[in-house]
């Protein structure tokens, strides 16, 4: 049998040897060289990605570490005063009273609606104010409301007066804004937002408004640290 095989091989070795070489090469290419090369290319790409990610994370860590925690907390407190996560009726009443009394008006009634409505991406609840005071100062109240440290929109204005009297009765329908805290505070890879000049300007404006209305300098209700 062995002799027969050797005889067969000797007779057809010109064809059998190249066939064996071709098949072996093909086997190596298909099962070793090609997959390993593909893995090598993919590995190279993922290494580059990892290096880039590492650089980005380092930059992010540096940026986060450079932030002043106290300053950030103060800014967050300011913006949460302006747009709290809850309705916060107590502070709203105190603020409205301040905004109305400051220019010389008196508040005869305040009605709060418990229902919520959407204003843009925020929620709001309705407040109806009935006021009495000099008509000439109504513009100041409206200006105060538009520049209030808590976001308030004027929905409707009703002014009535008796003939010859300087004082007017005013009914203001207001929308007081609030917004739930965002559900997502960013993933590890999410880019860090930067505070623009406009943002810093807004914070300064909120600070200066807060200084002019000291009674509203309370911290917002709810959790002291919303991330806990």
């Amino acid at each position: 049998m062995k002799k027969e095989i050797i005889k067969f091989y000797s007779k057809y070795r010109l064809y059998i040897f190249p066939a064996i070489v071709s098949l072996s090469s093909l086997f190596l290419i298909v099962f070793a060289i090609y997959p390993q090369t593909m893995k090598l290319i993919a590995g190279q790409k993922s290494t580059e990605k990892l290096i880039n990610r590492s650089k980005l994370l380092d930059i992010k860590v540096a940026a986060l570490e450079n932030l002043n925690d106290k300053d950030l907390s103060r800014k967050v407190e300011l913006v949460l005063n302006a747009l709290p996560p809850e309705k916060d009726f107590g502070n709203t009443f105190a603020l409205l009273q301040q905004l109305v009394i400051q220019p010389g008006f008196s508040m005869t009634s305040i009605t709060v609606s418990n229902s919520s409505a959407k204003v843009g991406n925020s929620d709001s609840f309705d407040v109806k104010l009935e006021l009495k005071g000099p008509r000439i100062l109504l513009s100041t109240i409206l200006n105060n409301l538009d520049n209030s440290p808590r976001l308030i929109r004027v929905k409707s204005i009703d002014v009535s007066s008796n003939q010859g009297q300087q004082n007017v009765d005013v009914a203001l329908a207001l929308q007081v804004l609030y917004a739930a805290l965002p559900q997502n505070y960013g993933m590890i890879d999410s880019p860090l937002p930067e505070l623009s000049q406009n943002d810093e300007g807004l914070i300064s404006t909120l600070e200066s408004i807060k200084r002019t209305i000291p009674a509203t300098a309370e911290s917002p209700r709810g959790k002291s640290n919303p991330f806990e």
């Binding site: 390993q36 990892l50 967050v76 976001l151 929109r153 007017v168 917004a179 937002p193 404006t205």
Partner: protein, 182 residues
Amino acid sequence: MKISINLLPPEDIALAIQRAKFYKIQLIGIIIILTMIFLTSLTVALRILQGRSMAPVQTKVVAAEQRVSDLKSTQGYLMLLKDRLKVIDQYLGVSSKQSLVYQLMDKLIPPSVIINAISINQAGVVTFVAIVPDSISLDNLLSNLTDQESNDGQIREVSVESLNRGRDGFYRISFKIKSEIL
């Protein structure tokens, strides 16, 4: 001159040619196989080296991830701050349209006109009831409300609902005004 005479029988010559041909094929085949083995070893070695060089980068990334996780609350504060500022920017210091309309009316109504009632509803319609002491004031009021130069083109429509003149000589007038602001 070199003369070569092959005295071998033709079968042996054919066999020798076949053998020489096979050796050539064998040599080429071995070269191919060795090349394939070399390429296989090279790719495997490169893969191993790549895996080793990746490990420190991975460790660095894991460490950076941990540091970001430790600063998660700072990131959260910053995200919250930015999110809130986006909304605050839309409304802070931006007058409500109703306030703007009221201020416009305040500017257009002459001081001699006594306002009985002024109402600006959510739909933007201003209802206005006033007492005007004389015809000059009435003229002024109407021209202010209707003249585009006086009202800066901010009034779209003025409808006089009623106009009476009382025994006291005062005009009682009520308007409906639609503003361009709303």
